[in-house]
């Protein structure tokens, strides 16, 4: 059993992490799922929606197997020219979170680009194991593309994206869209995505009991999603995109990740595989970043750089 030395946290991030040590434990166990689902609604959320001139609308649509799921739509009222579509999939380790978490980062594009954001309330594991989450997400994407005209979305500029589990599901949905011949995607945004159920990379061993979303947390998430199938050959590439042998034929893909998190190596490998297949990928590995650092410590200079870099790429994709 080799010993693993983890890269140090960026000093600003490390100092911030120490301050919330009591609130955010490094390890997330299955028993913590019910409590963690009771996440308070961001009190500034509605104000932010209004500040970008957006209105919120909910629709009930068919999900996996035709079951009803909800999507939230954020757009300018009376959207008359088609703008880019941002199909958002929230994070939360496959087991927690809701469609409102993470939308904040994309709302400014409503004001700047006339974007329409569709955020999907996919059903969570372990109550709804694989393939429900990824199929709910795919169904929502199909619905978005089919209703593009009515939603005010330019069908040639639909981007799928999300963070953490939402990044993993975005990668899975991107593969499904490729293999099922649609919908056509302009780009795929994978923010520190959760791609590999096997938990065998060096980085997945380096973070145990430290940082955010450590090795044990990763087992919690993947076990909830896959149960006994986790780590076996019974796992599809849509559930765990790291298992895909062929990453050709994908839209331009953006991946960012911290060097000090479990997902580092699977993210680097995923980008490398896209290039190996002759594809387009942009990869940023931010030194000393723990999982989700830009959300926890947005004032840190490495967070500012990360968000800025991501938004510049997104702007390039949305503008043409």
């Amino acid at each position: 059993m080799p010993t693993y030395t983890a890269p140090p946290f960026d000093p600003e991030l490390g100092a911030a992490l120490d301050l919330v040590a009591g609130i955010i434990p490094p390890t997330f166990t299955p028993e913590m799922i019910p409590l963690m689902r009771e996440m308070p609604f961001d009190p500034a959320f509605d104000e932010l929606v209004a500040s970008v001139g957006a209105v919120h609308e909910e629709r009930t649509i068919p999900g996996c197997n035709g079951d009803e799921i909800v999507v939230s739509i954020y757009r300018r009222p009376g959207q008359d020219t088609a703008g880019p579509g941002i199909y958002h999939i929230h994070g939360g380790g496959m087991v927690i979170g809701n469609r409102f978490a993470g939308v904040q980062s994309f709302l400014p594009f409503v004001a700047s680009h006339g974007a329409v954001i569709v955020s999907v309330e996919y059903r969570l594991a372990p109550e709804f194991p694989d393939p429900v989450p990824v199929e709910d997400c795919y169904a929502g994407l199909v619905w978005t593309a089919e209703n593009a005209a009515e939603l005010g979305i330019d069908p040639t500029r639909i981007i799928v994206g999300g963070a953490s589990a939402g990044g993993g599901l975005s990668a899975g949905v991107t593969l499904l869209a490729r293999d099922r011949q649609g919908p056509a995607l302009r780009a795929s945004l994978l923010i520190y995505p959760m791609l590999d159920d096997r938990n065998e990379t060096v980085s997945s061993h380096q973070f145990q009991g430290i940082g955010v979303w450590d090795r044990a947390s990763n087992f919690t998430g993947w076990n909830a999603l896959l149960g006994d199938r986790r780590g076996t050959d019974e796992v599809s590439i849509y559930a765990a995109p790291a298992r895909a042998e062929d990453l050709s034929g994908l839209p331009p893909t953006f991946i960012d990740v911290g060097s000090a998190e479990v997902f580092r190596d699977e993210c680097v490998a995923y980008a490398s595989q896209i290039w190996a297949a002759g594809g387009t990928a942009e990869l940023h590995v931010w030194p000393g970043g723990f999982h989700g650092f830009d959300g926890l410590a947005p004032q840190a200079q490495v967070s500012i750089a990360m968000v800025d870099t991501r938004n510049r790429w997104l702007t390039r994709m949305l503008e043409a």
Partner: protein
């Protein structure tokens, strides 16, 4: 994620929790985080804007409670703390102060001052100058300072004194030094060329140990510099330097210097006595004083009685010249110099 917002202010000041404030900034210092990171962090973690103004600036950088940079502004009225090298950091808490505000301000100020010292490449040189000119430095400190300034590389070194407000002509090791006569800038140079428009240049020092003597002579030379002779070299004083040094040790002014002081309360000015020594005519002195030359004639006749000697003789003139020098040495303040 709003976990960090206002976190430092929310910590219980009564508990060990407030140690986290200290730990937070210590980590930023150890991690070599710059001023911007410290200020953004402080603003987010306090939940209030933070400002930082460097020395000599009207307004400083300000960061909002969400970490974004605001327009520059002054610290006026907000609770503030000195953050080293004349800079100041402040906290713009609109409502009542939070329990940890003072602690946060203190810690961010300490962090910033440590940073400014660390980035101040001149500081070690400045300290070396201070050590070499100080009377109470230990021998090993002195040796280290001499090594830092490459003593021994120059055959001779001159200590120089220049007014604090004067700009150096060339890059030389320097430091601000407090003296009996006010704040003055000490400069060390490998030659006796003028370092600034106004300077007192000390006698040559052949070793680091001789520098204190060179410095004392530089202070004497600067006190004797004036608009006529803005750059004075102690070496040019000849034997008068020994006299000046001896008189500097006296607790009270020499009676001859005191006599000048007493005279200066009457119709005579130091400037006119100076002119007299320099051989000005009775007519020129009268014009200078704005009086009829007969009035000046009467004043000159009274002068030996007031001084206790006759300045119209050559011995008397020398004595008056020296008395004027001692008077100047005793009364000049560096802060008055412009």
């Amino acid at each position: 994620m709003k976990e960090l917002s206002g976190r430092l202010s929310a910590l219980d000041p009564e508990a060990s929790e407030s140690l986290k404030v200290i730990t937070y900034f210590d980590k930023l210092i150890d991690g070599r985080v710059g001023a911007e990171g410290m200020l953004r962090g402080a603003a987010v973690l306090c939940g209030a804007p933070i400002g930082h103004r460097r020395a000599g600036q009207e307004s400083g950088r300000r960061f909002a409670a969400d970490g974004t940079e605001l327009h520059a502004g002054p610290p006026d009225g907000w609770p503030s703390a000195p953050a080293g090298e004349g800079s100041v950091v402040w906290l713009e808490r609109g409502d009542a102060a939070h329990a940890n505000d003072a602690l946060v301000l203190e810690r961010v100020a300490i962090a910033l001052s440590i940073l400014s010292r660390r980035l101040d490449t001149l500081a070690p040189t400045r300290r070396a100058v201070e050590v070499l000119l100080a009377g109470d430095a230990a021998d090993d400190e002195r040796a280290e300072a001499a090594a830092r300034l490459s003593f021994g590389a120059h055959a001779r070194t001159h200590a120089m004194a220049i007014p604090a407000s004067t700009t150096l002509y060339r890059a030389l090791p320097h430091a601000m030094v407090g003296t009996r006569f006010g704040i003055v800038r000490a400069v060390l140079a490998p030659d006796d060329g003028a370092p600034a428009s106004r300077a007192g240049i000390g006698i040559a020092a052949r070793s680091a140990g001789d520098l204190r003597e060179s410095w004392r002579s530089a202070l004497i030379a600067l006190r004797l510099a004036d608009d006529e002779r803005p750059v004075m070299r102690a070496a040019d004083l000849g034997a008068l330097l020994s006299l000046a040094e001896t008189e500097d040790q006296r607790a009270t002014a020499h009676p001859d210097a005191q006599a000048i002081e007493d005279l200066a309360t009457g119709p005579w000015t130091v400037r006119m006595l100076r002119a007299l020594v320099d051989g000005a005519s009775q007519r020129a002195l009268a014009a200078e004083a704005g009086v009829h030359h007969s009035t000046m004639c009467a004043r000159l006749l009274k002068l030996p009685g007031s001084l206790g000697y006759d300045p119209s003789t050559s011995a008397g003139r020398t004595r008056l010249d020296v008395a004027l020098m001692l008077h100047r040495l005793a009364h000049v303040r560096f802060d008055d110099e412009r």
